[in-house]
Structure formats: structure tokens, C-alpha cells
Subunit: 203 residues, 2 copies
């Protein structure tokens, strides 16, 4: 069976648990405590030299890393990834935006506030992260003015990628009350068939 | 004709100039000085609310953003993107690694050293960027021990994505002398048919 090396509190790992659940693909979670260094052991690094979660291990030993690449892999040929070339590229566009603009501000701020002792140095940088994160939320809010989902009329992996850390942005010190379109979209995502919450324990 | 909004010194923009040149796709460069705020004007933001370069504008007004999504779009069906599903996902895996781990350390350090007045505050953060960037270079070096290119035997868009800021890493204060596999790979990339340098002016 597919093994998913996953840290329960990581939005990147949640993305993969969510998509695999919605696709009905059976998988076994190997809980990997990144805070305790379990993604930096020699055994783990031999499989993924980048030392990050999530990581997928197939029965034949093949390994896949990077949350959004994993989403793409399993979504090909399903309703969660458009066939149309331009729509498919735009799905990836939002996923690269997520990894370069969104995760690096909103998820990092959340990581510090939720899991770390916040030092004075962190506090200065948190201001920058909040400024950057609010800019990112503004881009999302504007995009959702006229669209129910990120790549148009259908829910897909761009939504999963962006939902993961947006729906817990409050844990990073972000107040979503000024982003009504984002809040409506969060509700749309969480009411999709087969949705599981971030807290849901996949066995 | 295709318009490419591009800043000459940006590695992200260079990626697209390089691929389009190698594919023989004609394009018109609209030089966009990001340092002078030309990607933050109302006209630009109306096309790309994220206010970043590169941006592609098709003749029919369609817009594509995010360098690696643009690479994917033009590489589909060419020798630069594998057809095999696992190899295709691994191409994307390295491209997400690039945007989340590599660009956010190596390109940011280069941006500060090349284009900004480095303040004391920057200097403290530069140490972190250098530590993070060296870790990233270590992952690349290890991967290249047994492979000529990032996704195996053939040059492709994962190489273009990673080449863009690696080959100018020295401008970010990184010394590549301790990374022989990376240096050999840089030479392999720059000797590909149709290669253009970052300085090359595309008209």
C-alpha cells in the first residue's frame, strides 16, 4: 500500500491526505514528527535528501516529494485537474504562487506562532511575514470576486493547495474578517464531497 | 505576437526567454523594470494582480504568470518535458523545490546584494539565507552525483528552472567551488543547442 510520510499539523501534508481521501485511494500514514527531527534522520534523508514532508512511497520503492507535485501526480485524469491546456497551466500557476508567495509567508508565520518560541528577532520578521501574507490574501480575494474556485467553475488541486494554509491563517496571526470572498470560498471547499478536516486522523 | 513582460536581470524571467528561444517561438520582450515599480502600476496589476514578472500575454489577451507554470505550458509536447507520468511529476517536483527552497534563499540573497542597499537588518537575514541556500545546493549536488540532468538523461525544464539562479549564485555571495557536480551540470546546460545567456537581449 501507498505510504504517506506526513506530519499531522503540516498544511503541506494535509493537502495530500485530503486529495487521496477524496480520490478514494488507500494509503498508510507514517506519522513523521518534523519538530523532533524525524525528517532529518539518515534513513529519511536516503529517501528524500531535502528532508521535508510530505513524502509518498510506492510499493515498488518509488518516492515522490513536494506537496503540489504529489497533488498533480494523483489528480491527472481526474475531475481535480482540468484537461484543457490553459486551465491546467493556470492550476499550476496558482500552485506555484502558493509555494512561492503564500506558504513562505502565511505558513511560516503560523509555524513560528504555533510551534516555536517567538524571540525578538522573530517578532521583527513576523511583521514582514504579515505584510507579505496580507498582500497574498488580497490577490486571492480579488481573484475570487467573480469565480467560485481558483481555476474557474470547478473545485480542484489549486483550491486544495491554497486551502491548506489559508483555513488556518488565524493561527499565523491573520484575521480573515476583511476577506469575505476568501471566507465564502473556504466554506465551498470544506463542503466538497469527501472533504476531511486537517485534524482528521487517517489510519 | 506573444508578449513577454520581463526584467532583464531576473532569473525567473530568464527561464522563459531561454525556453522560448530554444523552442524557436517568436516573442516580443516588454522590458519591465521591477525596481522602478513597473510591475505595480494599475495597468500591470489589471493583468497580473500579483505584480510580478515574468508575465506572458497572448495575442487574444490571455495572460499567464509564474515562471515555472509558463515553462510547463510551452514545454508540453516537446522534448523539454517528459511524457512518462512519474518523470513528469518529478520535473514538477524539482520546479516546486526551486520556487519554495531555492528561489527564496539564493535569489533573495542575490537580489539584496545586487540591487539593494544592504542594511544591518539585511545582514543578519543574509546569514540565514546563505545557510538555507547552501543546504539547497547540497541537495542538488547529491542528486547530480549519478545523473547528468535533474530529471534523468535529458535536459528539460527542471534544469532551466534550477539553472536560472544557480549560475549566478555567486552574485548572492555563494561559492560554488565546493559543488563540482553542480559546476559540471551548469556547463552541460549552457552547451545545449539554442542556449542563450542571461545577458542576451531578446528583441
Amino acid at each position: 500500500m501507498l505510504k504517506l510520510y506526513s506530519f499531522q499539523g503540516s498544511g503541506n501534508c494535509y493537502k495530500v491526505r485530503l486529495l487521496l481521501s477524496q480520490l478514494g485511494i488507500p494509503f498508510q500514514v507514517v506519522e513523521t514528527d518534523i519538530l523532533a527531527g524525524e525528517a532529518k534522520t539518515p534513513e529519511y534523508l536516503a529517501k528524500n535528501p531535502n528532508g521535508r514532508t510530505p513524502m509518498v512511497e510506492f510499493g515498488n520503492g518509488n518516492i515522490l516529494c513536494e506537496s503540489n507535485a504529489i497533488l498533480y501526480h494523483f489528480a491527472v485524469g481526474t475531475q481535480y485537474l482540468p484537461e484543457d491546456p490553459l486551465a491546467r497551466t493556470r492550476t499550476l500557476q496558482w500552485m506555484f504562487f502558493e509555494q512561492n508567495n503564500h506558504e513562505t509567508t502565511i505558513a511560516v508565520a503560523r509555524h513560528w506562532l504555533k510551534y516555536k518560541q517567538v524571540t525578538t528577532e522573530h517578532r521583527d520578521r513576523l511583521e514582514d511575514l504579515h505584510k507579505g501574507g496580507c498582500r497574498v490574501l488580497g490577490v486571492m480575494e480579488q481573484h475570487l470576486v467573480s469565480r467560485p474556485f481558483f481555476t474557474g467553475d470547478s473545485y480542484g488541486i489549486a483550491d486544495i493547495a491554497l486551502y491548506a494554509y489559508t483555513h488556518v491563517a488565524d493561527e499565523g496571526g491573520f484575521d480573515l474578517s476583511g476577506y469575505p470572498n476568501i471566507r465564502t470560498w473556504l466554506g465551498r471547499v470544506s463542503s466538497q464531497p469527501g472533504h476531511i478536516t486537517m485534524d482528521h486522523i487517517c489510519s
